[in-house]
Symmetry: C2
Subunit: 466 residues, 2 copies
């Protein structure tokens, strides 16, 4: 039995403050000095695919992420609706990359980049040197300058976001069941989804499924099929990036499911649970127990750091303008991939912030780095449009392929197949398929737990009182 | 479009405070007046099995729970270890009971009972009248008067507890990887589990599996197989309720897996991350990054309310002493089932706080109420010992059946079969089996996400600033 003689210093070991140990700037040395160091910030689709592509390259790879898992974002709305558990759509980064001997994972938060010294700085004062840097930190949601709306209208980017949405949705039904005030009851059964892009459409469709089918026999005092679900979109149609005929079909499918679709409508105010909408010149105020935010993106910070340190230009949303090889014009050894990159594709519009773009960009940069090291010639990045898809409900989706447009059940089937296929790269495919199969036939949603509210962000290395 | 003309009153709709609407005491009327009202408090094994047994009885059933789901407690340790997701072992109470037309579920927190008026009072001022009351609120863990240890040594009763354990365990490995201080590294790789009952043994065994196998290739700077896992038990053997030879085998199995078992040892102090143990006269202090608490039970409050209102006697831990038909001696229409009941079984020791006891008690009381209503004769409760089991690791368990004692792989197989069988009553059996099958063969744990810390309890109907 080891007996510790040192005086007790509880602060040094306090939960969540371990890395706050007063320490000077500390270098994380390379495992194999002399090998070209590739540092990747962010373990989403862009960063992870870059890391995997470099798995057999003669480089050392360091993947840095604040979280210890990769998240399959396209299915996050299912977690919000209680159809899947977070564990079903997340894979531990260390597990995914454990077989890659040239790769290490660092859990930590990047706070700065020094392009002169070629080092990345972490919140806990550690520094990591790079020869090539891949920034893949993504975008967060944006309230168009009204950050005070965040409390009432949660967005959907993280696992915690999804669990918060889930908590609110199911708590709204419980509260409606519990109250005897009919007006309050109706307000609690009113759900507004802001933003008619793929996420908004998916949330609206699955919420309709939930209220009008899954829960219809579960309550005694309320009729969940009397719920009102409103999808608000500023443009003249839902799914603006899709061809107009697919948008029209998506809207028709949603309306058939019971969703009220309001296009050309903007949210002008949210106060308490009163939400004010503007459609043309008409202002409407309604009370909604639950408001879900699926509109707007902005750079959560890394784009700004890159711009400050390298002089890189950014677009209005904060995306970093990249050269045709996804590097910064001023720093050919710094690359930006995924949602944070603005690759001037056509008409100066960035590529959409979807998984296939990030995957292709991540792989491209990984190959480019290898070619450069071998002295081979490189070609500019070219996005290969593999199509886009959005799911609406149990049998309905829209799929826009370069060679075909699909709607209804065939589209839904393609959507399912594509998602299962990509999830296959992680280890949860069988489970998620089983879960979906079960949910599909029983219309049950097994994961509709109301768990406790998360109000404090705690990350390893982050300051926090314990 | 409905336009709300009422002045904006954000407080009335503020998230989580909806039920705080200033309202007078409010009765929840029976759905079918005139029918005998059975009110059940708590949706664990005791309460849920009672409700299900009453599904076709000519009574009206109201099941009240703070949470909206039933939790399959025996597998909660798997959630703590990242082997399962909360959704895998939880079933929404409304979903489980939706087909029972005579049953309603109320999400709310009981704050008082009035046995004179025969009403139950909820935190939000609502009252529910009962003819028969079944109290099945269970027990919580107990720090032997040292509640200040709770921050350092989380227990395992709720989903949030399990996620907090998971967060700490995986964060400890991440922090160990991140620090360059060898002493701190070793402390972070030291895990102490307090309590050698079934939960403690299960935690120790699965933690050994995690550290010595699952994670062994995932880190670059630490060797997870150098982790130290210490199981501390005050009695002279682990699994005290089991026959001595099974305890010995369990200890041997744990030691073979790498767990250091300390019996006849008490925790005398926890300060910061220094934990002091007393074995005989010898005091030992060691630094452990993670301390898990699996010792001690106490009444979380409902036992005290019952005692105050009815004069019911309680045992040292706060369990309510019940008659041989599980009712209160003074109030034959109030029953206590599950962990909270002290049914004087033999030598005045209560029945163990395990699922089979709660299930049998819940069913017994449900049948008793029906018999009484029909004027039939009733017999005292008799516990039918179906055996007890504890799992140790991937191939090891101990099973104590009335007619046989099993160890090793056969015991593990029985354990698996029994758990799957009972989980079958809920709808997750196939999933959990798939997950386990996958985990078993790959040794992977897909759900080892470090999610954010939960620091505030929010319940529907609970006061909370929004």
């Amino acid at each position: 039995m080891q007996t510790v003689k040192r005086p007790i210093d509880s602060s040094i070991m306090a939960q969540d403050t371990v890395l706050e140990t007063p320490c000077p700037t500390l270098d994380v040395p390379p495992v194999t000095p002399g090998k070209p160091q590739v540092v990747i910030i962010g373990g989403g689709f862009g960063g992870l695919y870059a890391a995997q592509q470099l798995g057999r390259a003669d480089v050392e790879v360091t993947l840095i992420d604040k979280r210890n898992f990769h998240l399959f974002q396209p299915l996050l709305y299912q977690v919000a609706m209680g159809g899947l558990s977070p564990g079903d759509i997340a894979s531990p980064l260390r597990g995914v990359l454990s077989a890659q001997k040239n790769t290490r994972v660092l859990m930590g938060e990047v706070t700065d980049i020094d392009p002169e010294q070629q080092v990345v700085k972490l919140k806990d004062n550690r520094t990591i040197a790079y020869d090539n840097l891949i920034v893949a930190t993504g975008m967060s949601h944006f309230y168009f300058g009204r950050d005070d709306w965040a409390d009432v209208a949660p967005g959907l980017k993280t696992v915690e976001d999804a669990l918060e949405m889930r908590r609110r949705i199911f708590a709204a039904f419980e509260k409606a069941e519990n109250t005897s005030d009919p007006e309050l009851k109706q307000s609690l059964l009113t759900f507004v989804i802001v933003g008619g892009g793929p996420t908004g459409v998916e949330l609206a469709g699955s919420l309709a499924e939930l209220a009008y089918h899954t829960l219809r026999n579960d309550f005694r005092d309320i009729d969940t099929t009397a719920s009102r679900i409103l999808l608000v979109e500023g443009m003249d149609r839902v799914l603006p990036p899709f061809p107009p005929e697919l948008s029209a079909r998506a809207q028709a499918d949603l309306e058939k499911m019971g969703v009220q679709v309001m296009t050309k409508s903007l949210v002008t105010n949210i106060e308490g649970h009163e939400i004010t909408l503007k459609q043309g010149d008409e202002l409407t105020t309604l009370r909604a127990g639950t408001v879900l935010w699926a509109a707007g993106v902005r750079d959560p910070g890394m784009g700004g750091i890159l711009a400050d340190r390298t002089g890189a230009e950014r677009d209005r949303s904060g995306r970093v303008m990249v050269s045709d090889d996804l590097s910064l014009p001023t720093h050919p050894n710094i690359f930006v991939v995924g949602d944070l990159a603005h690759f001037a594709h056509q008409e100066n519009r960035p590529l959409p912030g979807v998984a296939p773009v990030a995957m292709q960009e991540g792989k491209y940069v990984a190959r480019l780095i290898q070619k450069r090291l071998k002295g081979e010639a490189t070609a500019p990045f070219e996005y290969k449009d593999t199509g886009s898809l959005a799911v609406i409900g149990r049998h309905a989706a829209v799929v826009n392929l370069p060679w075909a447009k699909l709607t209804g059940f065939p589209a839904w089937f393609v959507w399912l197949f594509v998602h299962i296929f990509y999830l296959i790269e992680f280890d949860n495919k069988l489970l998620v398929m089983t879960q979906w199969g079960a949910n599909y036939f029983t219309r049950k949603q097994g994961s509709r737990l109301i768990t406790e509210k998360v109000i404090e962000k705690v990350e390893v290395g982050a300051a926090s009182s314990s």
